[in-house]
Structures are given as C-alpha cells and as structure tokens.
C-alpha cells in the first residue's frame, strides 16, 4: 500500500539526527516537523530569517511580525534567533544548515531537480529553492512518485526547467526510499509496506538499481 503524505513525512523524520539544523520546504516537508522524535534536539530554520521555529500560535496569539517562509503565523522557542534575509542565505550558502527537505516536480537519475516552473503556466518564482539546492550538503526530496497524469517523476533527464543540478542525494515517495548515486541512477533502498519492487520499477522512468532483498520501510516513530 502506498504511503500517505503523513507517512512520507514520518519516514523522512527518521533521517533527522540530534543536533541538526534543518530547513523544511513547503508541502510534505512542513509535515516532517510533526514527527521529529522528542528525545532529540533539532533547530528548524525558516529562510526569511529565523532559527528555532516553533509551532503555530494558539488562536488569538498570532503575531503579524512573526511568520515562516510559507508566510504562516508561527512562534519562536527558547533559544530562537532572528536575523535578516541576507544572513539567512549566508548560513545556507556556508553549509551551516545540516539538512534541507523540499518537494519536487521532477528529479533525474544524476540528481538534478526541477520544482519551480512549468512552461505555459503562471510562474510564481523560485523563492529560496535555487539557493538551497545549490548549497545544501544534504538534501532529501519529498514527493509523489508519479504525477497526477500517472507519469513518473523520477526520470533519466528532467523535462522541466531546472532548479539545480546534481544536488539531490535521497528521495522519499509514497512508494519507496531511494538514493541518487554519484555515478547516476536511483538505488532502491526501501519499499513502502506491501509495495512490490516490480511496481516501483514500473513507476520509475529513470534507471532503477535494485540490489538484493529490498526491505519494507519501518514507520514506527
């Protein structure tokens, strides 16, 4: 059975380690915050200029001056810090952020990502995505394995305008966990419970590498 968005987030949360500074993109990545184990210390970065992003405020306690990169009202936490947007991207560029989790429209087998523009449709802009993928040392893509038209989003070559090149190392979809190998190719690491290797192969347009027995994901937090 393929995973829900919450389950994808749950699986990604297992990649977060104690002491990590983490930038979460919009969509499924935002949900990851709900599944970070309570016994580890993690600081969430919001690229508009905040380290230590807390949960949404209680009703009536919203502060128009305190928002995240998705423009949602949020809160700070003890130990939070606030800075300008240039410093925010300075720490991203200087690789101080340990893990970046973002969504994608397409990923290619050499690690290129496309997630900002569909030709012929209204383009809203790349926001901070190009800065993040160009600099982050550790990027996980959270996305659906196939698009709404049923076409694979894991391709040999991206067809959409690129956001960054050779930067994605890991992908978590509703079907599988895959590593993008430096020499090219999607290495199947884990399957969603009940999903066959054959089904993942059919859903992957780029080069899929399957070696040995592929275990099912463990979603226990």
């Amino acid at each position: 059975m393929s995973l829900s968005k919450e389950d994808i987030a749950k699986r990604i949360a297992k990649e977060i380690k104690d002491g990590y500074y983490v930038n979460l993109g919009i969509g499924i990545p935002t949900l990851v915050a709900n599944y970070i184990p309570e016994n580890i210390n993690v600081v969430l970065q919001s690229e508009n200029g905040l380290l230590g992003m807390g949960p949404f405020p209680f009703e009536g306690e919203e502060d128009a001056d305190l928002i995240n990169a998705g423009k949602q009202t949020i809160t700070t936490l003890p130990g939070s810090s606030i800075f300008d947007s240039a410093m925010s991207f300075g720490m991203i560029r200087a690789q101080k952020v340990d893990l970046t989790i973002l969504g994608a429209m397409e990923v290619s087998e050499n690690g290129d990502i496309a997630n900002w523009k569909i030709p012929g449709k209204m383009v809203k802009g790349m926001g901070g995505a190009m800065d993040l993928v160009a600099s982050a040392k550790n990027i996980i893509v959270a996305m659906q394995h196939v698009n709404k038209a049923g076409e694979s989003k894991l391709l040999s070559v991206c067809t959409l305008p690129l956001t960054g090149v050779k930067c994605i190392k890991k992908i978590v979809t509703e079907l599988a966990v895959l590593n993008v190998l430096p020499e090219g190719g999607f290495q199947l690491v884990e399957r969603a419970p009940g999903v066959s290797v054959e089904f993942i192969r059919q859903s992957t347009s780029g080069k899929l590498i399957v070696e040995g027995e592929i275990p099912e994901m463990n979603l226990e937090v």
Binding site: S46, E47, N48, G49, L50, P55, F56, P57, F58, E59, G60, E61, E62, D63, A64, D65, L66, I67, N68, G70, K71, Q72, T73, I74, T76, I82, F83, D84, S85, A86, S88, F89, G90, I92, R93, D112, M122, V123, K124, G125, M126, G127, G128, A129, M130, D131, A134, S135, P161, L162, T163, G164, V165, K166
Partner: protein, 233 residues
Amino acid sequence: MINKVVSGAEEAIKDISDGATLMLGGFGLCGIPENCINALVKKAVTNLTCISNNAGVDDFGIGLMLKQRQVKKMISSYVGENAEFERQLLSGELEVDLIPQGTLATRCLAAGYGMPAIFTPAGVGTEVAEGKEIRNFDGKDYLLEYAFDADFAIVKAWKGDSAGNLIFRSTSRNFNPVMAMAGKVTIAEVEELVPVGELDPDHIHTPGIYVHRIFQGKDYEKRIEQRTVRVKS
C-alpha cells in the same frame, strides 16, 4: 546628532518620480512599508522598477501599485497570490525578473557594503545562469551577480530615532536592513519614533548613516497572509 525626521510619508517620497528604481522591504506582507506604499499610490508615479521579494496581494502592499499600473518592472523571488499581477504579466504589460531569494538579498547586501558584485552558486546550470559570467572556485561553479543600483530604498522598522538608527521586530526584519543599506536615498517608516538617546547603541540593527529620512508611521494594518493557529488542548 543629524536630524533625519520628516513629517510623514508624503514628504518622505516627494522626490520619487516616474521611472525611478525602488527597493521595498518586507517578506510577503510582513514588514512592508505600508505608509510609503499608500503615499506612492496617491502620488500616482508610474514606470517604476520595484525590487522586492514579493509583489503583495491584490488589495494590499505592492498589489495596490500594480492595480494602478504604476509598476513597469518587478524584480522578485516569488510573486504568487496576486491575480492582477498574473494578468499584467501574461498580457505583457509588466516585466518581471525572477531571481533566487538569496541572490536578491545578497545583491542588496553588496550594494550596502560597497561591493560591485558577488559570486553565488544559486542558479548554476539553470536558466538563471543564461548570459552570466561563471567562475570556478575550488571545483565548484559560481555565477557573477551584480550589486543592485536603486534610487530609493523604502523600509519599515519597529523603532527608530531621529538620527535614523533602526531596530526591527521579529521576522519583519527580513529584507529591511539589507535594503536600508542599499538605497542611494533610504526612507524609513517606523512604528515608534523616539528622540536620540532612547535606543541602546548595542541594540541598533541599522546605523543611521544608511538612513536619509525617517518618520513616525501611522494606521498600520499589518495584515496576516496565512493565519495558522493551533487549538488549545
């Protein structure tokens, strides 16, 4: 101390004329210079080039200037949430230059630090790199991006003093300090204008040297774009 105080938004923007290049602080609707935007709408200057991370919404922020067709070109990183913007863009009435958010912030920073250009990896291998100089440092490619050249920077701060020193509050800081440094003329509107001596020098985010005009803002709406809350259990 040099006194930078002007009477209000109208006086602050009085010499902004058609064709000017403006930087406008804020992220989404957070920390935008509401008073100056309203004054620019009233003054009806046109043909403006606006450098701002976002373009407001249909009925607030830079969206108000777009509605009146005052903007010739937007330089932004993300421009969703604005139907009139979309219409003008698709009809070719509005020119838009979309650039990565970190590049936008750092091109402001470069201007304020007196540096002509920066090198950034953002956009290498994408259409953003088209026509730009690429340099390789230590095995990695970087794009050369130029410092912005803006006639006016318009920012909003929480507190400021009559010498132009500014303090920002929470994430409404965003692009405001770097834009404040980057304008040939910088205009600051503040929620609370105080006499010199009241702000602790150690707490100043933007030193007054960067600020040419400052005024006590009024009637801040501080609209929230995405009100998200949790329920008390």
